[in-house]
Amino acid sequence: MTDLYYMTIEQLAPLIQSRQLSPVELTESILERIEQVDSIVNSYITVTPEVARSQARFAESEIMQGNYRGPLHGIPIAPKDLYFTKGIRTTFGSALYREFVPDYDATPVEKLLNAGIVLTGKVNLHEFANGETNVNVHYGNARNPWNSYHITGGSSGGSGAAVAAGTAIASIGTDTAGSIRIPSAMCGIYGLKTTYGRVSKHGVKGLCESLTCPGPMARCVTDLSIILQYIAGYDPKDATSAKARVDDYVSYLGKSIQGLRIGVIPEYFFDKANTDVAQLVKNALSGMESLGAQVVEVKIPELDMAMVTEMMTAGTEATVEHHETLTSDQKSQLQDDVRILFETGELVTGIQYARAQKARRLLLARFMEVYKDVDIIAAPTVPIPAPPFIENQTKLNLEVWNACTPFTCPANITGLPSLSVPVGLSSDRLPVGMQFFGKPFAEGTLLKAAYAYEQISPFKDIYNIEGKAISNSMSVGV
């Protein structure tokens, strides 16, 4: 039998509902797993065993009284540590907020708590989500469970590490330039960057107001669907929240992808990817063709503008948020690579920022043109598997940023949804991911495609099969 900590919500929920498994037992399994491996993977900044045990006991009593709330009831979930949690410290991965305790819950957290989750703690991230390695000098680096000498990717690296290491059943992250999808790909899990406005950002200290999107990270597509179902929806407390209808996401799972048209853009994505990565993604697409999907080449020349558009937008908006820190003594408490990115953002001119906003509209318009011919677009999530830690954290972060951001940022600057699925292991036995881009608010289509692929993926049930191997790979790295 699979260890409890490596089971999915899809597997656990029926056991909890039918009272074959107590949330208390499940929570103890997760806390024990944290005790066993988190000194190595460092997925958590704050573990909350007392809160978790109390919530688990309450969930158990509710269920025993016949008050089962739904598939998240009694499930241990750990949000990225930039979601406000009432009464629980929320650091944003920064030394500046080491003692900050919010007095309210972020809307996505509030919705998950109402669904009955157990909060096992707050997971690691790159400081202020401003980086893609999850090197963190304040709280320690998150390490990749597949090889702890390698990074998790970031900025939601603690979420990636926790879900892959079994220190949480699932997590919620945020994505400004790829921060959900990069660690999902590098840690071998599933991650969904939602459409801008789909999930409320109230109480979420995102990196950039017009780019950041919350979303779920989990070990299977069904779990993504379940979590999204609870966190999606309009929130009057968030001025950028959309009033778009919330789909029944789980209903998309298991539907045929016969005739689904998948666009690919070889020259922008595949030609620049590492050989292992490109081949594994091509294999995955062949598998989808065997299920009846059609893979067709499309062109989006405006993607050439993507990286500079992201940098002009993210650089400016992140720096606006942190300008007062940069101009005060507090600057010395920022880690080097984060401070340097903020300083670089100060150099963006008003003209560049304004042009970048035009470029976003143009790129979105081109995507919408292409979506007249295809349903989704597929690409490697990132061009490389997780690189190893090196001594110079600034060099590492800027190199990963320059390599990975061009692949992931098109979804951020257009606001479109994008879902990363694991497609196999590189020759170094590190996970590789494939991402689908979708139409606005068409998360259901992405989930349908990902679920269909998951059924034939070499990664299906990987944590049942490789769980022990992953545990053995957790050795202390740099």
Binding site: A242, D337, Q357, L362
Partner: protein, 63 residues
Amino acid sequence: MEQGYIEKVLKEAGIDVPDQDVPWIQYMVNNLEPIMPRLTPPYYKGSKIDQPWVFELLTFNWR
């Protein structure tokens, strides 16, 4: 981008940039400079750039 220019601009913004940061700022800027012209035509030419929905100061959202 020259070190003196970076220091001057950041100084005017009230930021004392540490010496060690400058080469990395230059690294990032140098990576962007070759692609910076992509923020201007040719893509804008003949596009719908003059239509009202391409309004650069509109905060990005679906409304």
